[in-house]
Symmetry: C2
Subunit: 390 residues, 2 copies
């Protein structure tokens, strides 16, 4: 019989700090569990019995983990079938797994919840804990998600950097589209506004997935920014939909020379729309996975909270707690800080938190100061201000 | 009559360090010139007589300039007509301009050369100096260009960061395209290979503008990488052309529902090609202007050299030298360092330096160790290595 084992896994789209959570978890697990195994590529590693022994991870490796983007154990996007849940449990029994910690988003918390239920139904003793992770910040039950602060910092700073660029190039380039991730929620798109100081700073037009895209209104706003500021930065979610609910990216409706539909990205679609309708040259930046991998923009606050969340999960599992996800609870007064708490997995699983009404201003065309006050501490200290001619 | 005046301007696409060159220039100009004026938006500022007095720029502003991306004075992309050259000279006479320093690329050096010639023809005493600037690194006469080291560092590090991401996500996402700037030269695309340590690291496929794109060969290379490594990062220049000389980005040939041609970016075009032909999901990252504005990835070596180049131009103008561009001359032995030199403007104007044959390996499908040894010092110290499972 193998020793009683804690198994850990990483799931879903990586963040700059998911490995910080792993480092926190392994640090907290020291001396608490007879053995620690890592799943290769999340729950797929349980299906295929691909594991790696992490019991003796060195301090040097823990330090290296904290500066490494993506998911060091490998991640996955796999929805288990009922049969596969059984196989996962068999693998766990085979390795004498008594504790399972999964770092991921709402799909992963659903996986955790179902696995915990199945173990209970089978009379197999298993403690399960989730650690929140997503740049999209769309998990319920927590003030915010580890991963969001770093990707938000990426967009908050990059938006001001490209503002300087457009200000410099405005006699040639006048419109820039920034295409942000975030699934159905506008948290990352909204983050472009965190460091905006006045009307010259980006973003000048915000397109959030919470608000239907209306072409005429959009073009009017771009024109207004061009006449007031001389240039226009549009921050758009990659998932905006028109008033009929169709993704804007698909509404181009063209076909290539082989008859295959051409899908242009949202940013490119909007840039071409502006060129056609307003006769103004527009560019689009679509950093794609760079917004979730860039360590140079990672938030120290976020990295610290991610580490603490992993550490907390190890402590709670060691104490026999189960069926919950670690949460961040913002203190109500004093300088920004968060306590750690927990929420039942079932409350997180498959739910989605979008921008609440109090964070949306100007009829959904902007974010409010309430949002900026919420988000600013998460990105850590702002860089020193840029030089700007008086 | 106004005091004798040095006028300075910034031109072309910004870089993370063009303001460092301005800071160096203003530092070197102190006590050397009765007055220093800055042109708003480069040579367009001379046409429209839009200037700003920089004579008393404070130390705090010089420090702020060095951390600010883009071009603080404003930049432009304007090709002067013969009449406009006359008007620029009239503006210079009006302000008693006796020294002109322009930071830019090869088009800007052409502007400098013509203006110097016109002043000479008119018997107007004017000293002209150029300071090299371009992320594209395509200027002749200098070992490399200020601006390149920073954008190269962006790509060198980002390529390894996305490798970690793709390694983690390979059971779901297996191909990523990185779309790099660089006009007709592959310097930035090649920079993705600077920190590659073994065959698992990106880039696995390089598409350089110096080498015609051949679809069948490209797909074979992607397939080989997928079977050897499990995933594939393609680094492509945004300007690759097929064997008929057509831009790959335009060869899709579709039209939208209004009958307008749809132009998809190269990365998107290649991603869709891979999806169709290999049945493998592919994504494309197109950071666009972010690769030239990102201060978080700026190279300290590059920023220092940019400052020194601006400083040198001020000194040479004060000494009465004219008609040249500052150059960087790499020392032939010892640890990496550069001396400053100069080259006649006419030799730089409108010439373009592409990757030389010694930098191209594997039939143009990769770069050589000779290139990596050339480029590695320009990005400054490499970050500490990432964690990777054994």
């Amino acid at each position: 019989m193998p020793p009683e084992t804690l198994v850990v896994g990483q799931s879903g789209g990586p963040t700059p700090v998911i490995n910080s959570s792993l480092a926190g978890l392994l640090t907290g697990a020291r001396g608490q569990f007879p053995r620690v195994l890592g799943l290769r590529h999340g729950i797929e590693g349980a299906l295929e019995d691909r594991t790696v022994d992490l019991s003796d991870t060195s301090d040097a490796d823990l330090a290296a983990l904290r500066r490494t983007p993506a998911a060091a154990l490998g991640s996955c996007r796999h929805k288990l079938t009922p049969d596969e849940y059984e196989r996962v449990l068999q693998t766990f029994e085979h390795h004498n797994v008594r504790w399972f910690c999964y770092t991921g988003g709402n799909d992963s918390m659903d996986t955790c919840a179902r696995l915990a239920q199945l173990a209970k139904d089978r009379g197999y003793l298993l403690c399960v804990y989730g650690v929140p992770k997503t740049i999209d910040n769309d998990l319920v039950g927590t003030d915010h998600c580890p991963g969001y602060g770093s990707a938000a910092r990426y967009w908050a700073i990059c938006a001001q950097e490209v503002t300087r660029d457009l200000d410099a190039m405005q006699t040639y380039d006048r419109v820039l589209i920034l295409e942000c991730a975030g699934r159905n929620a506008g948290w990352l798109t909204a983050a472009t506004a965190i460091l905006r100081k006045d009307e010259r700073d980006a973003p000048h037009v915000l397109l959030l997935p919470e608000v239907p895209f209306e072409k005429g209104d959009f073009l009017l706003r771009v024109e207004a920014s061009l006449s007031q500021t001389g240039y226009c930065v549009v921050a758009t979610a990659e998932t905006i939909r028109d008033t009929e609910g169709k993704f804007v990216t698909q509404s181009v409706g063209g076909v290539d020379r082989f008859g295959h539909p051409i899908v242009t990205a949202v940013g490119e679609t909007l840039a071409q729309l502006i060129g056609r309708e307003l006769g103004v040259k527009a560019r689009a930046n679509k950093p794609g996975t760079l917004q979730r991998t860039s360590m140079a923009y990672a938030s120290l606050v976020d990295a610290d909270e991610a580490f603490r969340a992993g550490h907390e999960a190890a402590g709670r599992l060691a104490a026999g707690d189960s069926g919950k996800m670690v949460t961040l609870i913002r203190r109500e007064s004093g300088p920004y800080s968060c306590d750690l708490g927990s929420v039942p997995l079932a409350e997180v699983a498959n739910s989605e938190r979008r921008l609440p009404p109090s964070f949306l201003g100007d009829g959904g065309a902007d974010v409010t100061e309430v949002f900026r006050a919420y988000a600013a501490p998460l990105i850590g200290p702002a860089p020193e201000p840029f030089y700007r001619l008086a």
